[in-house]
């Protein structure tokens, strides 16, 4: 089942990372917590999916993210009321990577080029040599006059950054999602998805 879970997670859950991060950023006041919340959401969705695969991974992911946040609010005793625009996700305007789109050629290549271009120069060179030229670490170390350990470090760092960049929406598409346009909802605490 574990292999199966892996491909389900990669194809049905990870593709929504951009939307998830936007949602978390709008609903949670501390930017520093966002990656932790993301990890928590992924962990919980996979734990749940071990037993039963949800039909709609995206909706389930939102529900989980919302629960995590309300748990924390309760724990940290923050009064929270979200504007309606923040909890209604059905009409999200964000450019998404739907599963169909992942296989779509050019768009993905463009996304990769953009994500890759945002890496720091050294990371970029190292990853380029490894992935485009398929050079071994040893050879990369020689060409760049750095140690092999340093190559490994750059790969690890570049990988972490790329994962973030790749999840960010393709630029220049539509306007940002309108925020806070609706009236205040009476009580957003622990609310279930509609």
């Amino acid at each position: 089942m574990s292999d199966d879970l892996e491909s389900w997670f990669k194809s049905q859950v990870l593709v929504h990372e951009a939307v998830l991060m936007r949602f978390l950023a709008r609903a949670w006041p501390h930017r520093d917590d966002l990656t932790e919340l993301r990890q928590e959401a992924y962990t919980r969705i996979c734990e749940a999916a071990q037993h039963t695969r949800p039909n709609n991974a995206k909706a389930f992911l939102y529900a989980i993210a919302r629960h995590i946040m309300s748990d924390r609010r309760r724990r940290e005793r923050i009064v929270s009321i979200q504007a309606a625009g923040d909890t209604d996700l059905s009409n999200d305007l964000i450019e998404e990577r739907t599963p169909e789109r992942v296989v779509g050629g050019h768009q993905e290549l463009a996304r990769l080029a953009q994500a890759f271009d945002r890496l720091p120069a050294r990371c970029r060179e190292v990853i380029w040599m490894r992935r485009a030229l398929e050079l071994p670490y040893k050879e990369i170390a020689v060409r760049l006059k750095i140690g092999e350990k340093a190559v490994e470090k750059q790969i690890a760092r570049g990988n972490r950054l790329l994962a973030v960049h790749l999840a960010e929406p393709v630029v220049g598409r539509g306007e940002p999602t309108p925020r806070h346009t609706e009236d205040v909802i009476e009580d957003g605490i622990g609310e279930e998805p509609r």
């Binding site: 940290e76 009064v79 923040d86 050019h106 380029w128 398929e134 071994p136 790329l162 205040v184």
Partner: protein, 348 residues
């Protein structure tokens, strides 16, 4: 919740991936990796996520086709189909543009400042002096100007406008206003607030005065660059030396200057009043109440320290203080007594 920090897990996951693709991977490595991987779901999801990103870099090979050097081309210079140049163009437009509604106003207005229909959210007054504008408590107003600029007045605010061939000059007598300045390098746009002035050419920023002291001002810049300097050339030299860029929130008074650099989107939040909304991210109740009190004639008063220090987050209609107080009672051990003039809040 796990005691292992999420960063530590992510770093471990990326280290494993980097080791795995090094080409030297022993069965011992594999065993160690399996132990780590099987230890928790948290480890697995972090690994899968990074692996997925790593797998997509496979296609860098396709991007590298035909490139002679062993280094990648400079960012944005992918020598490929027209598709990619289009992409690069899009990137340049990526800087957040705020309200699209700030489009140039028709220039056919004769007077220096014309009272076109306000945005509909507010009533405002025109004083006998045709260049003086004022809003009541709880109201905001949008004022298009003949030069194409637009001014949005916040609650209980007052400005005086003086346009000349050399200068576009606005005096902020009280309150707060947001300025969307049409570009005109020959005529700087100057906002005078007490003993300081804020100077711009084409940009978007707000200036606020009602901070509790006579000489305090707050400037929020959401686009372009502005400069703040003393009107009479004395004091706050530090501010004058440092142009304020987009995303900056600066507060200045006699005592000194505090400059905070934020994301533009965070700076914009500070200006949510333009659509009648207040946004708090982890404010104290005391600060939130002070914000609400700007917009409402009936003032919130907090009686004890404990209650004043409660933390608030969320978005609220600035004029719907009743809803805010109701929610406060539901979420916290507080009680309120309300009369015509005040809403008193104390610990229950």
């Amino acid at each position: 919740m796990s005691t292992e920090s999420h960063q530590a897990i992510e770093e471990a996951a990326s280290d494993w991936l980097a080791r795995r693709s090094s080409g030297s991977w022993s069965s011992e490595d594999q065993r160690a990796f399996d132990a780590w991987f099987n230890q928790s779901m948290r480890h697995r999801v972090s690994y899968w996520r990074l692996e997925s990103a790593w797998e997509s870099t496979q296609r860098l090979k396709a991007l590298g086709a035909g490139i002679q050097s062993d280094r990648p081309p400079p960012p944005g210079q992918w020598n490929l189909s027209p598709f990619f140049t289009q992409c690069a163009d899009e990137e340049e437009q990526a800087a957040p543009h705020s309200s699209a509604s700030a489009n140039r106003m028709v220039r056919a207005f004769a007077a220096s400042l014309v009272l076109a229909a306000a945005v509909g959210m507010a009533a405002w007054f025109l004083w006998p002096d045709p260049n003086r504008y004022e809003t009541l408590i709880g109201a905001t107003a949008s004022l298009p100007m003949a030069d194409g600029s637009k001014i949005t007045l916040n609650t209980a605010s007052e400005i005086k406008v003086a346009m000349s061939g050399q200068e576009r000059r606005i005096e902020l007598e009280q309150g707060e206003a947001f300025f969307e300045v049409a570009k005109d390098p020959s005529r700087p746009f100057v906002v005078v607030a007490g003993d300081k002035r804020v100077i711009a050419v084409g940009t978007k920023f707000s200036v606020r005065r009602d901070l509790g002291s006579a000489d305090g001002i707050e400037v929020v810049v959401t686009e372009g660059i502005v400069r703040v300097e003393p009107v009479n050339g004395k004091g706050i030299h530090k501010l004058a030396a440092q142009p304020l860029t987009a995303g900056t929130i600066a507060r200045a008074n006699r005592g000194g200057v505090m400059i905070q650099k934020k994301d533009i989107s965070e700076a914009e939040e500070q200006l949510a009043w333009r659509s009648g909304v207040l946004i708090f991210r982890d404010s104290t109740l005391a600060d939130a109440a002070a914000e609400f009190n700007r917009y409402n004639p009936r003032k919130m008063v907090i009686e004890d320290e404990l209650t004043a220090g409660l933390r608030i987050m969320g978005s609220f209609r600035a004029t719907n203080v009743d809803a805010f107080v109701r929610l406060l009672q539901q979420g916290y051990p507080v009680e309120t007594s309300i009369d015509e003039k005040r809403i008193v809040i104390r610990a229950r």
